[in-house]
């Protein structure tokens, strides 16, 4: 059975997280999901848009995306990026919950003849994989189990946390102990390590803005992964992947450590396990720190 969903790739899909986008577009069709990109989608404002533009203007970014999504059809909007999910879901739910916000945003959209009624449902792709696709369907696609690969599953913070404990929570949002990432790892035939820091924060864009304030957070994550003997760290979050991977040389320089741990997306692991092309489909050539073990599988 195949179904089409509306896809919001986010800016990182064209830059630091092309390999997330690429691997998702490879693994979803075999799992029965076709993606239809939001027409001419724009940036969601990430976690800083609000500070500069204010609540309403920042929300207007997501409102345009939602209006374009709705114009294409009533299907759920899915996104792989933690921050895109956070903003788009937040704005969507806020529109549903506030007539005033809905009116204000529609007034703004109205200047270009657009509108949005709040009727869509915004979801994280991982949630789609857990609740709609299901682990059994994922396992059924595994042709090359990643036997012996030790994976530290790093969920990060924004993927599951912002709506946990609120009336806006999707079924899968939780913050104590999300298990979905380890479930993905095991579905691929790899070993899920008991990585306790799975929802610790990596500092987000602070590592870019003010490395002095944030790099110790990444160092702590790497320490734990190293102690556990991780072959790779797996993550769903575009910024986590970039942060935890790219700053290892700088962290080594500052803290006298010697980290060299590959950081991959769960979707790259799935692409390899599904027997797809490690480069064209999994995008493993786009990880800065290569995993020889994974490349050799």
């Amino acid at each position: 059975m195949s179904r089409t969903l509306t896809y919001y790739p986010g800016c990182s899909s064209q830059a630091s997280a092309v390999h997330l986008d690429k691997s998702l577009r490879a693994i979803l069709p075999p799992l029965g999901v076709q993606l239809r990109d939001i027409d001419d989608w724009n940036c969601c404002g990430a976690s800083v848009g609000h500070i500069e533009a204010g609540h309403l203007a920042n929300s207007a970014l997501s409102a345009r995306n939602l209006a374009n999504a709705k114009a294409a059809g009533p299907e759920d909007v899915v996104t792989p990026c933690a921050a895109c999910y956070l903003n788009t879901h937040y704005v969507n739910e806020s529109i549903r919950g506030s007539e005033q916000l809905k009116g204000d945003l529609n007034e703004a959209l109205g200047v270009v003849g657009k509108s949005y009624d709040g009727s869509l449902h915004v979801r994280h792709i991982c949630e789609l994989l857990v609740t709609d696709v299901g682990l059994d369907a994922i396992k059924a696609q595994v042709k090359k189990p990643l036997t012996g690969l030790k994976v530290a599953g790093y969920v990060g913070c924004q993927t599951v946390r912002p709506f946990a404990n609120t009336e806006r929570a999707n079924k899968f949002d939780s913050y104590d102990d999300p298990t979905f990432l380890d479930d993905f790892t095991q579905a691929c035939g790899a070993e899920a390590l008991p990585f306790k820091m799975r929802t610790h924060c990596c500092g987000g864009s602070v590592s870019v803005m003010s490395p002095d304030k944030g790099l110790h957070l990444i160092k702590e994550l790497l320490e734990e992964a190293q102690k556990l003997g991780a072959d790779v760290i797996s993550t769903p979050c575009p910024l986590c992947q970039t942060n935890v991977e790219m700053y290892q040389p700088e962290i080594n320089k500052r803290f006298g450590t010697s980290f060299n741990i590959p950081v991959v997306f769960y979707s790259q692991l799935m692409a390899v396990a599904f027997g797809l092309d490690p480069v064209k489909d999994a995008g493993l050539d786009q990880n800065i720190i290569k995993s020889d073990k994974l490349l050799g599988m």
Binding site: S12, G49, H55, A108, M246
Partner: protein, 204 residues
């Protein structure tokens, strides 16, 4: 600038708490804060904050407007939502901190011009407004050079190797920035939203 919080020039403003409750995104729930400290206790960046959310919220009640809007607590938050999910009173702490930061920007506090996060936000929105997409190269470049030429060069050099790695792995492209087709349309929507925002003095 209009419809901002009352008497922006005074360090103390007893109407500030009410302004925050009524105008800051999520502010109405702040009335429920019971000062338990779960937020500050769970903050990964708490060590780098002068006050932390709990104390900041107390300062809001005390009307310490200037101290609140120049506090680094509003700038150092990394949006990890640890506090939000732990708050027993469901105060949307992260949103409140971001909206306070925006208020500090709108009221033109000096600290709001100098903060790393504010400079970064400015560079980021510039790209989002101009192209409809964020170009990681331009955002970091503009951010670095917001500190001046010399500091910008220094910061840029520090990250040269990272940039090179990103180019090598085709995660940073060298051509024109990615842009949406309907840039005009987006700019019109944003301008209108800004106008409505200024009209109410708040978002919603």
């Amino acid at each position: 600038m209009n419809a901002l919080s009352p008497t922006p020039s005074r360090a103390y403003d007893l109407n500030f708490a009410r302004y925050v409750y009524e105008n800051i995104d999520g502010g109405e729930r702040l009335r429920m804060c019971m000062q338990c400290g779960a937020c500050s206790g769970s903050c990964p960046i708490g060590q780098q904050m002068d006050h932390g959310p709990r104390k900041l919220f107390m300062m809001i009640r005390a009307g310490m407007k200037e101290a609140v809007l120049t506090s680094n607590t509003i700038w150092n938050c990394v949006s990890c939502y640890n506090c939000v999910v732990r708050c027993p009173r469901k105060v949307p702490i992260t949103y409140i901190l971001h909206d306070l930061a925006n208020l500090a920007v709108r009221e033109g506090f000096d600290a709001a011009k100098k903060a790393d996060n504010a400079r970064f936000a400015k560079a980021f929105m510039w790209s989002a407004r101009k192209y409809g997409r964020t170009d990681e190269r331009l955002v970091t470049g503009i951010y670095y050079f917001s500190f001046g030429l010399v500091e910008g060069m220094k910061r840029g050099m520090g990250n040269q190797k990272i940039a090179l790695n990103m180019i090598k792995t085709k995660r940073m492209h060298l051509g024109m920035p990615h842009a949406i087709k309907a840039k005009d349309e987006l700019q019109k929507i944003l301008a209108k939203a800004q106008e409505i925002q200024d009209r109410h003095g708040k978002g919603a």
